[in-house]
Amino acid sequence: MAIKAATPVIPANQVPKLNYLTNGYGLKSWLLTTDHKRIAILYLISVSAFFFLGGFFAMLIRLELLTPEGDLMQADTYNKVFTMHGIVMVFFFLIPVVPAILGNFVLPLMVGAKDLAFPRINLLSWYLYIAAGVLFLHCMLSGGVDTGWTFYTPYSTAASNTNVIEAGLAIFIAGFSSIFTGLNFIVTVHRMRAPGLTWSRLPLFIWSTYATSLVMILGTPVIAITMVLVVAERLLHLGIFDPNLGGDPVLFQHLFWFYSHPAVYIMILPSMGVISEIVPCFARKRVFGYKFVALSSVAIAVFGFLVWAHHLFVAGISLYAALVFSFLSFVVAVPSAIKVFNWTATLYKGSITYATPMLYAFGFIGLFTIGGLTGIMLATIGVDVHVTDTYFVIAHFHYVMVGGVLMGYLGGLHFWWPKITGRMYPEGWAKLSALFVFVGFNLTFFPQFILGYLGMPRRYWQYPPEYQVLNVLSTAGASILAVGYLLPMIYLLWSLRYGPLAGDNPWGAAGLEWKTASPPPTFNFDETPVVTWEAYNYDEIPEPKELEAPVAR
């Protein structure tokens, strides 16, 4: 076997005494840490809090839409609730979730580095995230914001009476957090790889996180300046986006979507990377077409920047521009499809185990495919004009964002949980909650495709009674989905104390992160690892033995 063990072998079922979790206990040792693993835990806690806050708003939306009348809240409140659901979920959950939690934890381990290139900037980016989060919490508590997460002008700059300035500044600050994370990842991948770890040996999670980081550093500054202009326009009565003052609201939409469409790839690419790790591991096969999967991530990042105006088909852009953007939106589907085909081909004749991460990976592949194919429908101008601003669009992007990103995140969280904590989660409960998530998700969002096709517009608190059956189904699904999200929080916390010890490599997985202890020591590896093998060399790695019974402590 060509694997050179770089760290001393720690017997299975024994946690190393000195690891990153036991290296200091006080609050200060966490809040002033520069250890990427601890920062990942800080992100895990704060991002989860925002996830449940965003989920709370989602439940309010679904409860209001249970009946055709506006009985739970009035239009103004409903506008604020869906806006805050959108802002919290997009800027405080979906964008940081996989890169800042899983990426922060495993990226340096995967490249065999002691830490990210700039550990202090990494901590700074968490503090920026918290500052933005606190600012936005204050914005919510002092009246909220009702512009929709898209901040369309002139409503946001000239008409809305809500806290747009604070929300805009919160997004501006959160953007810097994201920029610094991306910058740190790119430099780490370029400069900190272990000897022998060439680009063609990098795990696919690194490739997709690298592509994500490119989008982060190229796109995020544009939303930053857009938010600055919106804030300046509200404060100083400039007219850059206000047609009354000679400005052009379509320019705002162009600038906004120049970031916010690629931001969709900031969200989905890291989850695709997670799936590329899980599928080979639980199929015990090298990933099919490694180079194509790797380069398709870069292709998505590049083409992702060229499709933004498909959000503007009804905003009065020229027909020829619309045709070009429609065509480019079809093109960006190609690298996404390459990934789906290659994961499927990896499964072919694989020796498949149905562990929880794999269940989420299957969920991802199916749901992302539905989300992607309906995206192609929306890229078709004729269909898009028909369903613009209906629930069809809502269902489409929730299939990608929730069905895709969240499935990938939960899969990755379960996959790396033994590495992060040194303990296994309870497999039975995990499988049950994966089932809840899958069933609940489809019940929530599939009816919305039909609702949208039938013409139910988004962002209204009332609807004609004929839409009620489908809305009730959707709300019922959301309730099941909520259980599916609450369960992992409970059993993962339970596993911290009562979970069976995992050992260094419970899955028999390839990748450098599995060659150090669980949980890893503060500097990850006792000796710098030297890589002499290709990625996903599963034909050289023995399958893991059945886990032993939980050890009570």
């Binding site: 430099v187 400069r191 550093i217 500054p221 300046i225 009565h237 007219g239 850059i240």
Partner: protein
């Protein structure tokens, strides 16, 4: 930090294998940061381009109201400051502590000169009621080769909106640059940098040059491009 680390190079952080790797990482990080700055200003340049094409006459008339002397002197000040930054990096390379500190201080002074002149320029805009808002007043006509063309004041206001946002953002970067270089000057005086370790000077210099280059684009686009006389 272990005693072992302190023995060879106090500036080498624990997670890097050697000083070269650390330096390469820092400079790549700085270049990437400059890329984000270019994208940041790019949004404003994009807005400028679109409105200049849409409201050409108003932009030409507005441009002629800017004070070309103050703008020109400021351009010269910034170019000289870029030279002193280069000299500072040279001095750091040679390990000359006093010379390095001197150039850094001169750079900060030149940056502040720029900001003061910019302040006078802004004051002039207030006097001429060229600041966007309720007091905005613009009656000048665009002189297109002997012909006088009326200018829509709303469109001229847009020109001044962009002028203030773009030069304001640039000035904010200058303020940050002055703060950064003052810190570097103090560190240099204390002997923080040696001929073997002066990465912060180099990276600070990259930042300063970028902010200068942005001005080198702003000056012709705002002051010069529509000037016939």
């Amino acid at each position: 930090m272990t005693a072992d680390h302190e023995a060879h190079n106090p500036a080498l952080l624990h997670h890097f294998a050697d000083a070269q790797q650390q330096k390469n990482a820092a400079s790549l990080g700085m270049w990437l940061f400059l890329v984000t700055e270019i994208m940041f200003f790019g949004g404003m340049f994009c807005a400028y381009l679109i409105y200049r094409l849409a409201y050409f006459n108003a932009f030409a008339a507005g441009s002629q109201q800017l004070n070309i002397w103050m703008g020109g002197i400021n351009t010269a000040v910034l170019i000289v400051s870029s030279v002193t930054v280069v000299l500072a990096v040279k001095a750091a390379e040679a390990g000359k502590r006093k010379l390095l500190t001197g150039y850094l201080v001169v750079t900060v002074l030149l940056g502040m000169t720029f900001l003061v002149i910019k302040g006078f320029e802004y004051a002039e805009k207030f006097e001429k009621h060229h600041v966007p808002g309720s007091t905005f007043n613009f009656t000048e006509k665009f002189d297109d080769n002997g012909k006088q063309i009326d200018v829509n004041p709303k469109e001229a206001e847009l020109f001044f909106s962009l002028y203030f946002v773009m030069t304001g953002m640039h000035a904010l970067h200058m303020v940050i640059g002055c703060g950064l270089f003052s810190t570097l000057a103090v560190l240099a005086w204390k002997g923080h940098f040696t001929a073997n370790y002066f990465t912060p000077i180099e990276n600070g210099g990259l930042y300063w040059h970028l902010v200068d280059i942005i001005w080198i684009y702003l000056f012709p686009l705002l002051y010069l491009i529509s000037r016939h006389t």
